[in-house]
């Protein structure tokens, strides 16, 4: 308690009005002004581009907010309670989760494999690092369009190549069935992002001291044992970052499905974000779309918080 009193006293002292005129302001005040000046641009940026839109979405989600015309009266909590009325809602959640699991497992496994292959500085390693990373430099929409062209059974070359090789008799419908549409999209994403995640893991691998490996070899550890007991545990921070990015990105999947499948065939590849887009721009109802967006935001915050918590625990242990 005496400490608090002392602190208050100090605060009272320093915040008391200063005489105007000749006396220069105390040093702390100048520092505070400087600090505020430095922080101001970021504060303005965050307020304008993050906080205000967030507030607007909050307001939208409680209102009847048609994209075209109409009154903007209150429509709460119907915007939230009506979400589950859509027959696509639960299938979209199930599909998004399934897609996230598949992409995360396949993508991280492949990225780790690629990173292990090119981690040593031997001849050609630089070339392969560049080649693996190149698709990552392409925009997702462009890559999706490229694969849409490749997959087309009428105009694309893939089907013709497979026919030419005698592997199939009829043109292949890569996006024609729910299963093939899902795996064709997964293939695109893995092709596009494996190099990017490889780069993150490569940095992680190169931070592991060589001495640790040498000591393990001296102790007679096998390659599998080294990988299991040294590489994986020491790579955990990089793997955790990749996991966080991959899970979040997959749960927000939109571009690839919008371009490749449009949610088809037979609504089998509708993701949650597509549902938001549909609600806003097909059904022209921004209120429900905003409510759905808020739910997705809340779910992602919760998931990220859990992941961070798990990571911190792992670090502490």
């Amino acid at each position: 308690m005496p400490v608090k009193v002392a602190v208050r006293a100090t605060a009272a002292h320093v915040t008391s009005p200063q005489p105007r005129g000749g006396t220069p302001p105390p040093r702390w005040r100048s520092r505070k002004a400087k600090g505020l000046a430095y922080a101001a641009p970021t504060a303005v940026f965050v307020t304008v581009f993050f906080l205000l839109p967030l507030l607007l979405v909050g307001q939208m989600s409680l209102s009847d907010w048609p994209l075209l015309g109409g009154d903007r009266g209150v429509n709460a909590p119907e915007n939230y309670s009506d979400i589950t009325d859509s027959t696509l809602f639960w299938p979209a959640i199930r599909f998004t989760l399934l897609y996230t699991v598949i992409v995360t497992v396949v993508l991280l496994a492949l990225a780790l494999l690629l990173a292990l292959l090119v981690q040593e500085s031997r001849p050609g390693a630089g070339f392969f690092r560049t080649v693996y990373f190149l698709p990552g430099a392409l925009g997702l929409a462009s890559a999706s369009l490229l694969f849409w062209g490749l997959y087309s059974p009428t105009t694309g070359p893939l089907s013709r190549i497979l026919e030419g090789l005698g592997l199939v008799d009829d043109p292949v419908s890569f996006l024609g069935s729910p299963t093939s549409a899902l795996w064709s999209t997964v293939f695109l994403i893995v092709w596009k992002f494996a190099g990017f995640y490889m780069l993150i893991l490569l940095v992680g691998l190169q931070r592991i001291p060589h001495e640790v490996y040498e000591a393990a070899r001296m102790d007679g550890a096998s390659r599998a044992q080294i990988f299991r007991s040294i590489t994986l545990p020491l790579l955990r921070p990089s793997l955790a970052l990749c996991l966080l990015l991959c899970v979040t990105g997959s749960l927000l999947a939109f571009d690839q499905f919008f371009i490749l499948t449009k949610g088809g065939p037979d609504n089998s590849t509708v993701t949650v974000v597509q549902l938001i887009y549909r609600e806003a721009f097909q059904r022209l109802n921004l209120g429900t779309a905003a409510a759905l967006s808020n739910l997705v935001l809340a779910a992602l915050l919760l998931l990220n918080a859990l992941q961070f918590r798990g990571l911190r625990r792992a670090d502490e242990s």
């Binding site: 994209l67 015309g69 009428t154 043109p171 949610g263 609504n267 721009f281 097909q282 022209l284």
Partner: protein, 440 residues
């Protein structure tokens, strides 16, 4: 306390600044609000302006969708070359058009003129996006000859809001060379769905990469555009007059689905139909390997010159003929401040010269029934066939058209796919889902 309300010193200066900023913002808001205020009368232009509008060198903005870009570009180019007013045309990707118009309407940032897929027009007119053109349209000397299905789609509460801009009709295209090879008469296109089925199968039997027909099996808009005319040709309707109830489980409808399902089952359809979302469905026929398929009339001018093809109306199961009068209708946005100048373009675009020398010259469908036969169409009987269909075709009317029929995740596409790629037994149930969406 003494500083409260004081305007002296740094705090007073800050206060003045803040007060000034707030006043400035408030003034700006008021000015913006006043500037964007409208009563749907077309931007407050002088009513005394002639029926032809005003050509005083105003710069106008206009949006059109990519699907009808060539026609819009040709009209704008010809107008800019012959008038003082200048139009800056923006072509928007077709799939993004609704979203862009919606967002622009929300921020009151619509262009002076915007065309729209005619099936979305009721949604826009009822939302107050277009200016009232009733008096201007009625004053046109050829008003009664304008494509009435477009005028009807753009009429809301007895007021006319749009005029036809680019007409796109669904018609059968058939490859005469393949018909000859299949021992079919190239001058006798199908007049019933049964004949169409027989001819498609005959061509498909040629083999060697030749297929009988093709359709966009994962494209709701394509289905609406090419399947519904067969139902109309049978004398049935697909929607009630208000566009709130579907009649897509009717006898004629089922006959249409059954025919398409038979083609899928017997592999009469070119590869890719099952996943065709509408992006490339018109690119199959020009390759010369498909016998007979329905397509937009606007593709006629884009066909290879060496492709010997004929066009015919889309028949019903047992006869009759019809077409979907699609394409774009155009109106002046309710927020435009240059309504008279914008009308100058619209009135000119519907006149004899523009319709014949620009639209017909590009082998496109004219927007007026009295010009169905003109110097260009007479040189190509296929154009007369198409132009004459305007009077017989229909444009469906429904407020919820987009979310029901064009939405790739909507109930109509489900009905289509169940009926054609499935066993066709869920048509009644799927029709109820379509009705529910229309009445939503």
């Amino acid at each position: 306390m003494g500083s409260t309300g004081s305007t002296a010193g740094p705090r007073g200066h800050r206060r003045r600044l803040v007060t000034g900023a707030i006043a400035l913002l408030a003034t700006a808001s008021l000015v913006t609000a006043c500037g964007s205020d409208n009563d749907g009368s077309g931007g407050g232009g002088d009513r005394a302006a002639s029926a032809g509008g005003v050509d005083d060198g105003t710069e106008l903005t206009m949006w059109t969708r990519a699907a009808t870009r060539p026609q819009s570009e040709a009209l704008v180019k010809a107008y800019n070359a012959s008038h003082k007013n200048k139009i800056e045309l923006t072509v928007v990707p077709t799939d993004d058009y609704q979203a862009k118009v919606g967002a622009a309407a929300g921020s009151r940032d619509l262009p002076d003129l915007f065309a729209s897929d005619v099936v979305f027009v009721p949604n826009y007119t009822s939302s107050g996006l277009f200016a009232d053109l009733t008096e201007r349209v009625d004053a046109l000397p050829f008003a009664e000859h304008l494509a009435q299905s477009h005028i009807k789609a753009g009429t809301y509460e007895d007021k006319k809001y749009v005029v036809p801009h680019t007409l796109d009709l669904s018609v059968l295209f058939y490859n005469k060379e393949l018909y000859r090879k299949a021992k079919l008469d190239p001058e006798k296109p199908p007049t019933t769905l049964r004949e169409w089925d027989r001819q498609a199968r005959a061509v498909d039997a040629l083999g060697g990469g030749v297929d009988g027909t093709f359709f966009g099996g994962n494209c709701g808009g394509c289905g609406v555009f090419t399947w519904w005319p067969s139902v109309w040709a049978a004398g049935e309707d697909v929607l009630n007059e208000e566009g709130t109830e579907a009649n897509l489980a009717s006898t004629a409808s089922k006959k249409v689905y059954d025919t398409y399902r038979g083609w899928v089952r017997d592999d009469i359809v070119a590869p890719g139909a099952r996943e065709e979302t509408g992006t490339t469905w018109t690119g199959i026929f020009p390759k010369g390997k498909v016998g007979v398929m329905p397509m937009p009339s606007t593709t006629l001018g884009l066909m290879p010159k060496d492709l010997d093809l004929g066009v015919a109306p889309i028949p019903g199961p047992d006869g009759g003929k019809s077409t979907f009068v699609g394409g774009d209708a155009i109106g002046i946005s309710a927020t435009s401040e240059s309504a008279d100048q914008a009308w100058n373009f619209l009135a000119w675009s519907l006149g004899d010269k523009a319709q014949v020398d620009v639209v017909a010259a590009h082998k496109d469908v004219v927007a007026r029934t009295d010009l169905a036969s003109n110097k260009h169409s007479e040189a190509d009987p296929r154009l007369v066939t198409i132009n004459e269909l305007v009077a017989e075709g229909r444009t469906p009317y429904a407020m919820k058209f987009g979310q029901t029929f064009n939405d790739p995740n909507g109930p109509w596409l489900e009905l289509m796919r169940h009926a054609v790629f499935g066993d066709g037994k869920s048509v009644e149930k799927d029709n109820d889902a379509v009705t529910a969406s229309l009445a939503d």
